[in-house]
């Protein structure tokens, strides 16, 4: 697979490294001098193409007609939109992915500008942070389907509602599947009649609703009130 990346900031450089590790063919287009010297320290020379990523002659020179995907990850939203539009309209690139810098501009990142997938960085990050706060001890291992579903890990605390209940009785079915139970370091694949014990660790695949339900079942019975910190006089 051949991927073009427009924009060599942190996101673009990181993406290029990830894809190169997966043995993709990658070309990254950047024209800002100060970034180019940094990029040359991080990436192989043949990956970096110096030019303005919105210039159609640059896109053509870097091989956009053979590319399978165009990732527009510059820090300029109008640039990312225009590149996606040109990639599809002029060069028939099968898949376009664009980064949203300002959440107020997110409404434009769809078929209006031939964007197949948009990633709203502030939104994704804000939701991740919100989840980390509300789910207490639950840890998100990774996200699937652009953050809709997550694979989570959680330890069963003393006094949790779920202790001793068979999984099939837990009423999680639609939103959450418990995929593994780790007890004393040994992992087992659970069945409907399996039960949880204190200090088990579980791994589950869950939607946001499912993760919320699961966290209720595994919660400490009472959230202790805090009176921490000294007054600053």
């Amino acid at each position: 697979m051949f991927v073009l990346i427009a924009g060599g900031g942190r996101t673009g450089a990181r993406l290029a490294s990830l894809l190169l590790n997966e043995k993709y063919k990658v070309r990254l287009i950047e024209n800002r001098r100060n970034l180019l010297s940094l990029l040359h320290q991080e990436l192989p020379t043949e990956v970096i193409y110096e030019g303005n990523p919105i210039d159609p002659s640059v896109l053509e020179a870097v091989g956009i007609r053979e590319a399978h995907a165009m990732a527009s990850v510059t820090s300029d939203d109008s640039m990312n939109l225009a590149i996606s539009f040109l990639a599809k309209r002029m060069f028939d690139v099968p898949r376009t992915i664009a980064r949203v810098n300002n959440p107020n501009n997110a409404w434009l990142f769809d078929e209006k500008f031939h964007v197949d997938v948009s990633l709203n960085q502030a939104d994704v990050l804000a939701h991740l942070i919100q989840e980390e706060m509300s789910l207490g001890d639950m840890m998100t291992l990774f996200k699937i389907r652009r953050g809709r579903y997550s694979v989570v890990e959680e330890k069963v605390p003393a006094g949790a509602k779920a202790i001793g209940v068979q999984l099939k009785e837990m009423d999680l079915a639609e939103h959450c599947v418990i995929a593994a139970i780790i007890r004393d370091g040994v992992m087992t694949l659970p069945r409907g009649d399996s039960t949880l014990q204190e200090n088990d660790e579980i791994i589950a695949v869950a939607s946001p609703e499912g993760a919320h339900k699961l966290s209720e079942l595994l919660a400490h019975p009472v959230y202790p009130e805090r009176h921490g910190g000294r007054k600053i006089s």
Binding site: N52, I54, D55, S78, R89, N105, L108, K112
Partner: protein, 220 residues
């Protein structure tokens, strides 16, 4: 008419003032409040601080009722994206995008937008005045790819036909000849007199060739 101007740089400020003086309802949008200082003191249209790509900013600018929108920031991609959104999503009847960097004019054209290349056009006009001061441009088509020039016939070409002058030239047509205040559609066989004013529809290359031909010694 209700008109929206996105970008209040030199071009945006001048355009907004002209439209306002023309009796239109003008809303000028810029992300930087300071930019509105460029507006003429007599300007009484609306100013709106905000990003031209934000849905709520376009709504507040009245894009749903707008008869026309001009995107005249100094970012070609921003102009293209705002203009494309206005035209395809809000169906604004008339939309114009300014082209700032001549190298990026193809981008605006790829969106199929009406564009004015102010940088390219300005540079070409200055070049014309520097290099061919005797040619006066009387009409400019498109972005100046074709212009109609006015030039006078020198002594050396008096008594010769229009065909003799024009035939070897490409990209260059005589569209009118004015003699003693009366103009006519010229026939190729017309005999020129010194002092005739000829209007020439021509590219820049065409008028350059004509200029050197007129200035050259009359060929035998």
């Amino acid at each position: 008419m209700n008109l929206i101007v996105v970008g209040c740089g030199r071009v945006g400020a001048e355009l907004s003032h002209r439209l306002f003086k023309g009796g239109h309802q003008v809303t000028v949008v810029d992300s930087n409040r300071e930019s509105f200082n460029r507006l003429h003191p007599d300007f009484r249209g609306r100013t709106l601080e905000g990003e031209g790509l934000a849905e709520n900013v376009l709504d507040r600018a009245g894009i749903k009722e707008a008869h026309g929108l001009a995107a005249v920031t100094n970012s070609d991609t921003l102009n293209a994206v705002v203009a494309h959104t206005a035209r395809t999503y809000y169906h604004v009847p008339v939309v114009v995008a300014r082209n700032y960097d001549p190298a990026l004019r193809v981008v605006i054209e790829a969106f199929g937008l009406q564009t004015v290349s102010s940088t390219f056009w300005g540079a070409q006009r200055v070049e014309e005045l520097l290099i061919n001061p005797s040619q006066r441009v009387v009409f400019s088509a498109g972005n100046g790819e074709v212009e109609v020039y006015e030039t006078s016939v020198p002594e050396s070409w008096g008594g010769r036909t229009l065909a003799e002058l024009m035939e070897p030239l490409k990209q260059c047509y005589a569209v009118a000849v004015t003699r003693a205040g009366r103009s006519s559609l010229p026939d190729v066989g017309m005999v020129l007199q010194a002092g005739d004013m000829i209007n020439i529809s021509s590219t820049y290359d065409g008028i350059s060739a004509l200029t050197s031909r007129l200035a050259g010694k009359a060929e035998a």
